[in-house]
């Protein structure tokens, strides 16, 4: 039986700074952007592609003839972004447009800052507004603006020092925001942990007891359903002594990370074994949970600070050999 409360969920952010090497076509394109210029590349059919492509989109031929194009261009198609989202070029409503720069044959996708959709039309003339600080990325183009708004308040791109090193890599931070949901079975398990209980479930087909319980028994493919309350004592089935320091480590090495098979469970889980010299931890060692103070409990296995030896005689091999 699983509980009637809705499954637990929590915000979950994933992020990574993608660092990419640019090579002989994208490198000069990025270098030019940093210097306030736009390069295109001539395709097999003589069309000039902006942004540059390394291989011809039709024939697949490697391309190498770079061509400088204008920072003025014409809107080919557009749409309106009324509520900008994270990472987009402008933080107020703006147009997305495909813009064919003068000297190019294919359009570039970017933002146009016009203030309102009424001020946008296909065929309108626009020009680049360069970012104040540039690093060799497409975001060095802050956005486009109507060409006739080019006044003294729209300074020309400041020329970069001619001896600046070519741009060879680009770093693109990617961050996604999700809401992670636990399964109904995991939620029951986590809510029990908040009360200091270890709640497993039995698969009704193979009789195996899983902690945490599962949305599907990996052997039988059916959800575990029958609740089984387990004690907080168990056996070390296997372990390793951590000697290597790493980012975010909370305990000074050496210490022991071990698989603990709770009494009555059919699957072991990873936890810490502390409270004795690391050299004394062994397979078959009997351990008991050391809980954090009750006021610190929440819906997490971290309520158990670590496992410590009970001092009982070691478990016989045959009691855990099947679970290695």
């Amino acid at each position: 039986m699983t509980g009637t409360s809705p499954p637990l969920s929590a915000p979950f952010d994933v992020g990574f700074d993608y660092t990419r090497t640019l090579g002989p076509v994208l490198g000069p394109f990025a270098t030019a952007l940093r210097d306030g210029r736009v390069l295109g590349i001539r395709g097999t059919d003589r069309r000039v592609h902006v942004p540059v492509v390394e291989f011809d989109p039709v024939t697949g031929d490697a391309l190498d003839e770079l061509v400088e194009v204008s920072d003025f261009g014409t809107v080919v198609t557009w749409t309106w972004q009324s509520r900008p989202s994270e990472g987009q070029p402008l933080d107020r409503s703006f147009a997305w447009a495909m813009i064919r720069l003068d000297g190019a044959d294919t359009p570039l996708l970017h933002a146009v800052d016009t203030g309102s959709a009424e001020a946008m039309w296909t065929g309108m003339r626009v020009r680049i507004r360069w970012a104040d600080e540039r690093s060799g990325s497409i975001t060095d183009i802050a956005c486009f603006v109507p060409a006739d708004s080019a006044t003294a308040s729209e300074p020309e791109a400041p020329a970069a020092a001619s001896d600046a090193a070519p741009v060879t890599t680009v770093v693109t931070p990617i961050h996604l925001h999700l809401r992670h949901s636990a399964s109904a079975q995991e939620s029951d398990y986590l809510r029990a942990l908040e009360q200091g209980r270890l709640l497993a479930q039995r698969c009704t087909e193979c009789d195996k007891v899983y902690i945490p319980p599962r949305g599907a028994c990996p052997t039988c493919g059916v959800p575990t359903t029958e609740p089984v309350e387990l004690p907080d004592t168990g056996t070390v089935t296997t372990f390793c002594i951590v000697n290597v320091p790493f980012l975010g480590q909370r305990i000074a090495p050496p210490y022991v990370a071990a698989y603990i098979l709770l009494d009555g469970a059919d699957i072991a889980f990873l936890h810490l074994v502390l409270g004795c010299d690391a050299a004394h931890v062994r397979m078959g060692m009997r351990v008991r949970a050391v809980w954090k103070p009750r006021e610190d409990w929440s819906t997490t296995m971290e309520n158990i600070d670590h496992f410590a030896p009970t001092g009982e005689p070691d478990a016989a091999d045959e009691t855990y050999a099947h679970h290695l």
Binding site: L22, S85, L178, R179
Partner: protein, 353 residues
């Protein structure tokens, strides 16, 4: 050795929901589907020779997310399994190839995704060129809106034609109990709605959907044992266009046209199209050369529910049902992937033994 014929013999789909009560690993949505489709065929999971799935780590927010879904199969003793990071229609392609080799005679293909866990439109920006486009985060509706205006302003289609596609889909969606959307409406009513991303209105865009689906394939005699009227796959092709969005003619779908030629789509009575935006339905119908007599997306199509990574597979399943039930002789299912119809797959199925 003769290459065996391969047929669709079973299909099941989860309810298309805005937000399913499920984890991102798909287990909760898949367990009942496997049970349903295998029961219908009087099979057990041990009768399946090959398993192949489509899903995405970006959607799930974790690496190797498809591994957890394998729990729903019960993978002990070890199974013959594969995965594509694409719509499961491409997993079906892989399974079809596997069956054609003669190595196995049954395959179960499944796709799943929980789009509601993240910000789908933003996540889909990551399929754009990573150097010159993705760093600007243009979302999937933006890309479709740019494509729609190109067609409108070059006279390829009109806003009314787009609204007629949406009205047809919504009316059909009302007849599909698993669809997310569907109601009686007409083009006039839809044209009165405000724009979401000019020129697209909300009804021009597929909703955000959580879901999953399953298709069972079988080869030659095994297919005949499992079904009186298997939906024989008589043509299958997939093609990809340039990854440079702005180097393509976005008002046409040359890849779909090439698929259509390779798969042999003449004479289909039903075409289930994976068109997440109304104008894309028009682009696809033209690329496939579908006449007025062809019934297009009678399930309601992607505009009534677009579960990422299973919506394309579901189109093949819905099309196959017309043959399995003896309602049509020749049908096609289409799937798309990538921005603005970049990649397309066409699967043609026919009745008769």
């Amino acid at each position: 050795m003769a290459v065996p014929d391969v047929a669709v013999v079973g299909f099941a789909e989860a309810p298309n929901l805005r937000a399913a009560d499920a984890t991102t690993n798909g287990v909760e949505m898949l367990v009942p589907l496997f049970e349903q489709v295998l029961d219908e065929l009087s099979m057990t999971r041990h009768d399946i020779g090959f398993w192949c799935s489509g899903s995405s780590d970006y959607l799930a927010g974790r690496a190797f997310s498809f591994i957890a879904a394998i729990d729903a199969i019960g993978a002990v003793p070890p199974i013959n399994e594969s995965h594509v990071e694409m719509d499961a229609a491409w997993a079906l392609y892989e399974a079809w190839v596997k069956l054609r080799t003669g190595e196995v005679d049954t395959a179960l293909v499944y796709g799943f995704g929980k789009s509601s866990a993240g910000d789908l439109r933003r996540t889909l920006a990551l399929q754009l060129d990573p150097y010159s486009v993705a760093p600007l985060w243009p979302d999937s509706v933006t890309i479709a809106a740019l494509q729609a205006r190109l067609g409108l302003e070059t006279g390829m289609w009109t806003e009314r034609e787009m609204a007629e596609v949406s009205a047809r889909s919504l009316r059909d969606g009302a007849t599909n109990p698993l669809a997310q959307r569907g109601h009686a409406t007409d083009a006039d009513a839809l044209l009165a709605e405000p724009t979401l991303a000019d020129p697209l209105r909300a009804y021009d865009c597929a909703p955000i959907t959580d879901g999953a689906s399953v298709v069972v394939l079988a080869a030659a005699d095994r297919a005949r044992e499992l079904r009186r009227d298997p939906a024989w796959i008589t043509g299958m092709a997939h093609r990809t266009e340039s990854g440079t969005l702005t180097a393509r003619d976005l008002t046409r779908s040359s890849s779909t046209q090439d698929c259509s030629k390779a798969a042999g789509t003449d004479g289909v009575a039903v075409a289930e199209l994976h068109a997440p935006f109304s104008h894309q339905d028009i682009v696809l119908r033209r690329a496939l050369g579908l006449g007025d007599a062809v019934s297009v997306s009678p399930s309601g199509g992607a505009l009534c529910g677009n579960p990422m990574f299973s919506a394309g597979l579901s189109r093949i399943g819905h099309a196959a049902r017309h043959v399995l039930d003896g309602r049509a002789e020749k049908v096609l299912g289409h799937a798309t992937s990538g921005p603005a119809l970049q990649q397309n797959l066409v699967c043609v199925m026919e009745g008769g033994n």
